[in-house]
């Protein structure tokens, strides 16, 4: 269980409050108007923004004070998820060891992860030699080898076309099912939520609301969501 207890997150000029629980192994979409604080919420869970109040607990343990790299969290950002000067395999390898001092067994894990996301034999390529979809797959392969309990997606596929984006979301859902990871995904597209999320957290007017089943919420939106959906 991921528990945000009475949290208040300050990001520059505005604050977001959250008091909610996310079930282990669930896939949750975080939806709301732009500027409402969707990214602020996931950044606080990832440890990039401090809490001014409250606690974030994973399986009962408070995460406060843990630096981002020590939390049970893997995160994909809107852009810049790969280092352009490192090969695909090295980019994945960073998920195992940030020093990149990898054993043969480690490299085999990297190759297996690349194979799992459909990039068998492409490990030596630099990101510039890969398509946008393939770059996303490399980032997902890294998430795979990281083996963290929680996966946070801050709209990493926003730049992809609709078909490719759907393909990536399906791959995320598949990988999460296999590993049992808990997924939180920021999105401004209700269609994304319907595609893979079983529940939705609505962030609006400085508040992150407790999750509700996706179809139920989107079919009968409350006023704040209705204003956003139009």
């Amino acid at each position: 269980m991921l528990k945000l207890e009475n949290c208040r997150i300050l990001n520059g000029g505005y604050a977001v409050e959250a008091n909610l629980e996310i079930r282990t192994g669930s896939c949750t979409a975080v939806i709301g108007p732009s500027g409402a604080g969707k990214s602020t919420l996931v950044e606080a869970i990832a440890g990039f923004l401090p809490l001014t109040r409250g606690e974030i607990r994973w399986q009962g343990a408070d995460m406060a004070g843990q630096p981002p790299g020590k939390r049970p969290v893997a995160m994909l950002f809107q852009d810049g998820n790969l280092f352009p000067h490192l090969s695909a395999a090295q980019n994945v390898g960073l998920g195992l060891r940030a020093s990149l001092r990898l054993s043969d067994a480690d490299w085999q894990k990297v190759e297996a992860a690349l194979t799992r996301v459909g990039l068998s034999g492409m490990g030596a390529r630099k990101p510039a030699a890969l398509s946008g979809g393939q770059q996303s797959r490399v980032a997902l392969a890294r998430v795979l080898v990281q083996g963290r309990d929680i996966l946070l997606l801050d709209e990493p596929f926003a730049a992809l076309g609709p078909a490719l984006k759907a393909e990536m979301l399906d791959l995320v859902a598949e990988l999460a099912r296999e590993s049992g990871a808990t997924v939180l995904m920021v999105s401004h597209e209700p269609a994304d939520a319907r595609r893979i999320a079983d529940q939705v957290v609505l962030v609006a007017e400085g508040r992150a609301h407790p999750p509700q089943p996706t179809t139920e919420l989107l079919d009968n939106p409350p006023p704040a969501l209705k204003a956003y959906l139009g």
Binding site: G47, P68, V73, M75, F77, F83, H85, A98
Partner: protein, 518 residues
């Protein structure tokens, strides 16, 4: 607001900045302690102050005054070679002063091309030594810089404004009043202040073209007090005066300057509808040709004068060249060791640091640091034995402000783009530096290293203070050859120095961008 966590600590950078500050302020303190209280400034010192201010004012006014029509012509004309010419405007920055002086002498000197030309009409040869020679050399170096700064201002006028002006059928005068005067009022003071500040601490130009009681800058007076009279107290007093002067000028320059003049995008010509008349075209072409000739003729003269003697260069010149390469390599390494952590610290939220080092670096005068180091070293060891490392160190500190302007924005970009990803991968400290920071900074590091190497290679400043007759860098050796009236050997050595400086810049800058993924 709480500061964002960063994958890199500012500690190393703060340490480097403190080291630089300690060097600049420590040498200043050493100088100040030596300065005799109450002795006051002699008449000759006051005239040095007057000359310094006069030549810097004239140089700034002439450079900026001439740069305005040249920049205007470059801004509104397109022609073959425009790109190359604009790139060339950046070259004097890394051109060794002594090389330019020899080139200027070959064109404007007593036996130079201009005098020969005047002689054909029965006119007197021109006189280059003294105030006008110093100003001429300063305009040679700073006209290109001022042109780039002002050109930047022209480029920043939005294209829509020109369309609007064309729509209103604005004539040249209206265009000038509506668009160009407001821009110049914003940009020109900055350019004036920058050129003025640069010319205040002129040493090599005054050493070669000035001199005598009527054409001595304060920097030169420090050198003379030191070298000829070994009057440390007076050198110290003059150093204090120089520091107040350059410090104030640097503060003003930083306050009023807008761009740094080596920004990208200067080769874009804006579509304009004015200046189509034959007269305007002719004037623009004239300004561009004049500026190009003024820049290129001295360089051509050096190549022509230097080539014949290149094969017969003596061993002492080659030895000096070897020393120069060593100094440049050491200085570049020192600069990077200081600047890379400082850029990272500035990007990690210590922006003030970069600003401080900029002010200190611009205000610091190599001769003052040199004097201070001499005073500090003197009781313990022979300063002359340390000429090479001291020169390298001072050169590195002088290149620091420029390196920071190149490195700090990129470091900010790298941390902004990859900081969070690296943190989420628990990649911090050395691993981040090795796998992300250094590789992503490579192109800028190469550029900064190239500048530092070229500046150090061509520097004739503190080395003149420290070198004994047995030791010389290539610029110093050229100066000595000039002093012995061996102009052909000096020209050949200058050509060698030109090749070394430009070569070092080219190799390092290219090396940084080689196979660099963006």
């Amino acid at each position: 607001m709480a500061e964002r966590a960063q994958p890199i600590r500012a500690t190393a950078g703060i340490g480097a900045a403190l080291l630089v500050a300690a060097l600049i302020l420590g040498t200043l303190a050493a100088v100040a302690l030596r300065a005799e209280t109450g002795s006051g400034l002699a008449t000759s010192d006051w005239s040095a102050l007057r000359f310094t201010l006069t030549q810097a004012s004239l140089s700034a006014l002439l450079s900026v005054g001439l740069a305005i029509p040249v920049a205007r012509a470059l801004a509104r004309r397109r022609f073959a070679g425009r790109r190359l010419l604009i790139a060339l405007l950046g070259a004097p920055f890394i051109l060794p002063v002594i090389v330019a002086i020899l080139g200027l002498l070959a064109v404007f000197g007593r036996a130079g091309w201009l005098s020969v030309l005047l002689g054909l009409f029965g006119l007197e040869p021109v006189q280059i030594y003294g105030l006008h020679g110093v100003v001429l050399a300063h305009v040679f170096f700073n006209l290109p810089l001022a042109t780039r700064l002002i050109l930047q201002g022209w480029q920043e006028i939005p294209a829509e404004r020109f369309r609007l002006a064309a729509q209103l059928d604005a004539g040249p005068l209206a265009m000038w009043r509506l668009l160009e005067v407001p821009m110049l009022r914003r940009v020109a003071p900055g350019a004036l202040a920058v050129v003025f500040a640069i010319c205040l601490s002129s040493f090599a130009v005054a050493l070669t073209l000035g001199g005598g009681p009527r054409a001595t800058t304060i920097e030169l007076a420090i050198y003379q007090a030191f070298r000829f009279d070994f009057d440390l107290g007076r050198a110290a007093l003059l150093s204090g005066l120089q520091l107040v002067l350059t410090g104030a000028a640097a503060l003003v320059a930083l306050r009023v300057s807008t761009g740094e003049g080596f920004g990208a995008g200067l080769d874009r010509a804006v579509q304009r509808w004015d200046g189509k008349s034959t007269l305007a075209r002719g004037l623009d072409a004239g300004w561009i040709l004049l500026a190009a000739a003024f820049l290129l003729l001295p360089l051509a003269a050096i190549v022509l004068a230097g080539l014949p003697g290149l094969a017969t260069l003596k061993g002492s010149v080659w030895q000096a060249a070897g020393n120069s390469v060593l100094v440049a390599a050491l200085s570049t390494a020192l600069l990077l060791v200081l600047a890379l952590p400082m850029a990272a610290a500035a990007a990690a939220g210590r922006g003030r640091l970069a600003e401080l080092s900029g002010i200190l670096g611009l205000a610091a005068s190599p001769l003052v640091i040199g004097t201070g180091l001499f005073i500090v070293i003197y009781p313990f060891a022979s300063p002359f034995a340390l000429a090479l490392p001291v020169t390298a160190l001072v050169n590195a500190v002088m290149a620091l402000p420029f390196a920071m302007r190149i490195l700090a924005p990129r470091a900010q970009e790298v941390l902004g783009r990859y900081g969070r990803l690296s943190l989420s991968l628990d990649m911090r400290g050395w691993h981040f530096v090795r796998h992300v920071y250094l590789p992503r900074m490579r192109a800028q590091t190469g550029f900064a290293a190239g500048l530092a190497a070229a500046l150090s290679m061509g520097d004739l400043g503190v080395v003149a203070l420290f070198a004994d007759p047995e030791f010389a860098t290539l610029p110093l050796q050229i100066y000595r050859l000039m002093g012995a009236y061996r102009m052909e050997a000096a020209a050949a050595a200058a050509l060698l120095l030109l090749a070394l400086s430009m070569g070092a810049f080219w190799i390092l800058d290219r090396g940084g961008r080689w196979h660099a993924e963006t």
